[in-house]
């Protein structure tokens, strides 16, 4: 299953995005800023997560005219978000020929039990996860890239850190277990044994593992990448800051030089104000985006 050609091509594009930054954009002007700053892809959406959070209402797939305009304007890959379980939005995005679909908790879920059966699509999917079980369930459904959920639109890195640490720790733990113990773990993780055994043998996910949700500064990027993320998604962090051009460039630099403090210092200087942040503990359960998805 995991070696068929379609799946290899889906994972292949995710491989090409490693070490880079995927930036949320809502129109062509923002997409140009992102591309000029060195984004390795853009994510088209109607509103950045911070605005979705503020304005409320139902958040859906972005208007097609906006996505089309972004696809026409930039030469880098264009991703777009579909609601969890909304396979019909996903079919529309596939027909539009976007390069990747994010089945995203940032939008209002369309189905409270089922995710999209992503194996049925030719276009690749990325999905969010907070722990290993969730990541492996999404991969079993056909996701070719996993990203931490973090807490989108919060400007607070704490949840992304919690999620990447959890996933990495749970993977490490599997590597020391015996075969019969893995059967039990698969049951606990609610994930297919085949995938649990793969992770135990390799110590990593069978697809690229990126980070998202709350990244606002170059140092945030370096933090999650040192914890094991292979690339980052930045949503509100860029276009809700005081100087999006400078911050976008700095965040790209941080994704390359995440292990080099001198370069990170250069990247962190002269950026103006970051986006206003939220204290996660002050949010009520119903305000959290990360709990969407099952």
């Amino acid at each position: 299953m995991y070696l068929d050609e379609t799946f290899r091509l889906k994972v292949g594009l995710a491989e090409m995005l490693k070490g880079g930054v995927i930036m949320d954009v809502t129109n062509a002007e923002q997409a140009v800023i992102a591309e000029k700053a060195g984004a390795s892809a853009v994510m088209a959406l109607e509103r950045v997560p911070a605005d979705i959070r503020k304005e409320g209402g139902v958040a859906r797939m972005a208007p097609i005219s906006k996505i089309r305009e972004i696809m026409k304007t930039v030469s880098i890959p264009v991703m777009a978000k579909a609601r969890i379980g909304h396979f019909s939005e996903a079919r529309v995005l596939e027909a539009l020929e976007v390069d990747y679909i994010d089945e995203s908790e940032v939008l209002t879920p369309a189905d409270e039990e089922h995710h999209i059966d992503k194996r049925e699509f030719k276009v690749p999917f990325v999905c969010g996860a907070r722990n290993l079980g969730e990541a492996l369930r999404r991969i079993a459904e056909g996701a070719a890239m996993i990203r931490t959920k973090g807490e989108a639109g919060s400007g607070n890195i704490v949840e992304a850190v919690r999620h990447i640490r959890t996933i990495v720790k749970e993977m490490k733990q599997l590597t020391v277990l015996g075969k019969e113990e893995l059967v039990h773990e698969a049951k606990k993780l609610q994930a297919p044994l085949e995938l649990v055994e793969w992770v135990a043998a390799n110590g990593k996910l069978p697809v690229p593992n990126f980070s998202a949700g709350g990244i606002a500064t170059p140092a945030d990027v370096a933090l999650v990448m040192q914890l094991g993320a292979e690339a980052v998604f930045v949503g509100s962090g860029i276009f809700k800051s005081s100087d999006p051009e400078a911050r976008a460039k700095a965040i790209v630099k941080a994704a390359t030089y995440y292990k080099d403090p001198a370069k990170l210092l250069e990247a962190s200087e002269g950026l103006g104000m970051g986006m206003p942040g939220l204290d996660i503990s002050q949010l009520s359960e119903s305000e959290l985006l990360q709990t969407r998805g099952w």
């Binding site: 594009l13 491989e15 090409m16 490693k18 000029k36 790209v252």
Partner: protein
């Protein structure tokens, strides 16, 4: 034969996959992100990824000249985005490049991700039959100068080209289990000591 130490430009892209492929082919792979790190390697791979992202970083970190200088003396192998960076001319849209190989490359020439594909191609000069070629949002080499030599083609377009000690592929041999393409590149490091003077087409 001493194990070759090969750099993989790790600004962005599938540098990790290349490092694994180089190790499988019998070399030692090291990530390169600064000009200083070029001093310690016998050759360099420029991986797949987004050429526009790599170009921004090459510019900003002042790596263009050091890479051109490196290429004058040592072999460079570029795949996909790497091939775009090695080219003399880039279109769709036009962008700067290292100009180390006399080829013209059109970016994203097959289309978007849905046009990505895995093909089996003939590569008569690489012994051992057909070669698997993984194309991902791949470019097409539209023109090959007289100094460059086509090693493999797909649907009439060159996809694997060499010129002196440099090599360019529009596909991703690092995503296949077959090591022949990487081994051919490693062999250039053996030859390198003998014919140091390849043509440089730097603009």
């Amino acid at each position: 034969m001493a194990r070759k130490r090969v750099g993989v430009l790790a600004l962005q892209g599938d540098f990790e996959a290349h490092a694994r492929a180089l190790e499988r082919a019998g070399a030692e792979a090291v990530e390169v992100r600064t000009a200083g790190e070029l001093d310690d390697v016998d050759g360099l791979v420029i991986p797949g990824g987004e050429s526009s992202t790599m170009l921004k970083l090459l510019d900003q970190e002042e790596l263009m000249e050091p890479l051109r200088e490196f290429g004058r003396h040592k072999p460079i192998f570029g795949t996909c985005a790497g091939a775009i960076l090695l080219a003399r001319e880039v279109t769709n849209p036009p962008q700067a490049s290292l100009g180390l190989m006399d080829i013209e490359v059109e970016r994203n020439a097959y289309g978007r991700q849905l046009a990505s594909r895995i093909a089996r191609i003939d590569a008569p000069e690489l012994d051992g039959g057909e070669l698997e070629a993984v194309f991902i949002r791949a470019p097409i080499i539209r023109r090959v100068g007289s100094a460059a030599h086509v090693l493999a083609a797909y649907r009439g377009d060159p996809v694997l080209v060499e010129q002196g000690h440099h090599m360019a592929a529009t596909f991703h041999p690092e995503l296949s289990a077959d090591s022949r393409v990487h081994r051919r590149f490693l062999a250039k490091m053996e030859k390198d000591a003998v014919d140091a003077g390849s043509v440089c087409l730097h603009r």
